[in-house]
């Protein structure tokens, strides 16, 4: 449910990234045929990709642990997510994998890097947009 909520939130801001000359891309770890249903569920129309082997996640050192997906914080976020209208869909990807974000400029500079430490902890959209100001 956290993933759908995150993608739906990014969908509402998709045009803001374009205004700043940024290319927003979302990468997950499920199968390619799971991408269209995610689009339908979230309304996201931008670049949507998957890395079933999670090589990109590993390269960036994004966290993967059971401690990150269970606990009081996760339960609290789950309740908030459900209260916001998001219901959990079937698991499509690695249940223990956590997310993150990176902004890379056309001249290969990294202006932002975020590693999630728990399920439901997402990079704030305002920070993602601000990372384009340093491009």
């Amino acid at each position: 449910m956290f993933c759908r909520q995150q993608v739906a939130e990014l969908a509402t801001h998709h045009s803001d990234f374009g205004i700043k000359d940024g290319n927003l891309a979302i990468i997950g770890s499920g199968k390619p045929d799971q991408l269209p249903p995610l689009r339908a569920a979230t309304g996201y129309s931008g670049t949507l990709l998957t890395d079933p082997q999670r090589e990109t996640y590993g390269f960036l050192g994004l966290n993967r642990s059971i401690g990150g997906v269970i606990g009081l914080k996760m339960v609290t976020r789950a309740v908030q997510s459900i209260a916001s209208g998001y219901r959990p869909g079937p698991l499509q990807g690695d249940a223990l994998q956590l997310g993150g974000a990176i902004t890379i400029t056309a001249d290969n500079r990294v202006t932002y890097f975020f590693k999630s430490t728990g399920a439901g902890e997402h990079p704030p959209v305002a920070e993602l947009l601000a990372s384009l100001d340093q491009a």
Binding site: C3, N23, P32, L49, L91, A95, G100, A101, I102, I104
Partner: protein, 41 residues
């Protein structure tokens, strides 16, 4: 964190048509904000 962007950019991901996409193509012309989600559920 030091990130080897050249090596990172050489990694390949898959689009919804099962086409291979080299990561570096995402920031070839404009800055790319790449968000990694936990899963698709």
């Amino acid at each position: 964190m030091d990130i080897d962007i050249a090596s990172f950019g050489a990694l390949v991901v898959i689009d919804e048509h099962s086409h291979r996409v080299e990561l570096r193509s995402l920031w070839q012309q404009h800055s790319a904000v790449i968000v990694f989600v936990r899963h698709f559920g």
